[in-house]
Symmetry: C2
Subunit: 274 residues, 2 copies
């Protein structure tokens, strides 16, 4: 029996994405506890629920402490199978549907939560179109004015400051058409915007990064190159920031924040409300 | 005043991703109500919270019904500003932290939820490495045995069955190294696995799709080509499915399920527990 070890089960009848995200963010509020998490997805039959119950009871016995189960089981019968007095069951559906039925003055119609993406096929197709757009117009390769004209946002910044993953995330998650433009040495010789971007100023969003962080990322990729030297990183970042300031572009430092945070900051600052 | 219209606010002091996901999936259980949703991210100061309160009170007046607020505000003071008796406040932090402190026998240490990605820099770097891997080895271009040797999973299927976005999602969300191999006419002439994949059979996962759906997707991209004709789609899918069966590969039909569902099914079926 290990001290301060707690087993957490994330249980879902679907992908488990929501319950895992919420669970991890709640557990981060208890930094002194050593959590061992187990994700169990697609628990959508009596048999699977019964196997899960056995696993939960086993974990309770092994750790000597009640495991905590975060779940999103739409089907009440499955919840009842999983409910045991040796564990704590926090079912998001059960808790919230109860809290919603009263103010909405209506009973919920239990339908599996995972249907909501496919229930909106146009929205879903739009997300896929956006992913293809991001891939096609990655790194400013062969993008003419026609390519940029379709963009909701055009990210610019020095090589390896995080543009590509942010574009892909904006596309996949929000259906945003995001192109990106890497500032190369030639662009950085001047404080004017690159010619192909000038017509699209309201769509521009600048990313910057601390030179040391940039060096670390660049070194991870290609070693021994001019490109990853700290002096080069410092010079590029300074020149890029001057260019951004000169053109009064919205700018975000990506050094210590995640792709998700960069993407949602862009949505908010450019008022792209998806 | 519109009938059965309800305003929903998704409020967060950070990205709002968790609260939006949970909220949308809960609202999908009330199909008869016409929800108008508003996302408000980075509500992290008294001033922003006070502005939000004014907006909530305005919505209550306009619709004649109490708006519902789903929020994840770590700071209790901000929750108190947002709390008004003309709306229903469901704060995920407030609800769940209360439910967790008792069984964990410990008070929570309130820290902004968004820190949890950056709090694990190695894990975060691994996700970015996985995105770069997926981009580098997209479409089987130039992948030798050394490229596939690094893969956690190799998706195979006909062109446009959804391989690329699934690889990117697996990378971004779970740090999985996912490569993909598009089956071209030459591969489909035989039921043997393409030579470059034979050494990696346990990593293979096959995607299939209904021919009509495939045709629809292909037509969206390039019209008037042989490639998008239904007879061509039917033939390719039939040949691919024969190849998958002959080699006893795990296979999933992507026709009616989302990227998220495909990705999590792969995790589960290949026991990639991230």
């Amino acid at each position: 029996m290990s001290t301060n070890l707690r087993t957490i089960f994330f249980v879902s009848d679907s992908t488990g994405i929501t319950v895992e995200k919420l669970g991890h963010s709640l557990l981060s509020q208890f930094p002194d506890i050593n959590f061992q998490t187990v994700s169990l997805r697609y628990i959508d039959s009596k048999q699977k629920a019964e196997n899960l119950r056995v696993e939960i009871e086993g974990a309770a016995k092994k750790t000597g402490r009640p495991p905590i189960i975060f779940s999103t089981l739409v089907e009440p019968k499955l919840r009842e199978i999983v409910r045991t007095d040796v564990a704590v069951l926090l079912d998001l559906f059960e808790i919230f549907i109860g809290l919603l039925e009263v103010p909405l003055n209506q009973k919920a119609t239990p339908t599996a939560g995972h249907a909501h993406y496919v229930a909106e096929p146009d929205k879903y197709m739009a997300r896929m179109d956006a992913v293809n757009y991001a891939l096609r117009y990655d790194d400013g390769l062969g993008v003419g004015e026609s390519g940029y004209a379709q963009a909701d946002v055009i990210l610019l910044g020095v090589s390896r400051c995080g543009k590509t993953p942010v574009c892909l995330y904006l596309a996949m998650q929000y259906g945003i058409f995001a192109a990106n433009y890497p500032l190369v040495d030639e662009d950085l010789q001047t404080t004017a915007l690159p010619a192909s971007l000038r017509a699209f100023k309201p769509k521009l969003f600048a990313l910057t990064i601390e030179p040391l962080r940039l060096q670390k990322i660049r070194t991870r990729r290609q070693t021994g190159e001019e490109y990853a030297k700290i002096v080069q990183c410092r010079r590029e970042v300074a020149q890029a920031e001057t260019l951004f300031a000169e053109n009064q572009l919205a700018m975000l430092d990506t050094s210590t924040i995640s792709i998700e945070e960069i993407a949602t900051q862009i949505l908010m600052q450019l008022h792209l409300n998806r």
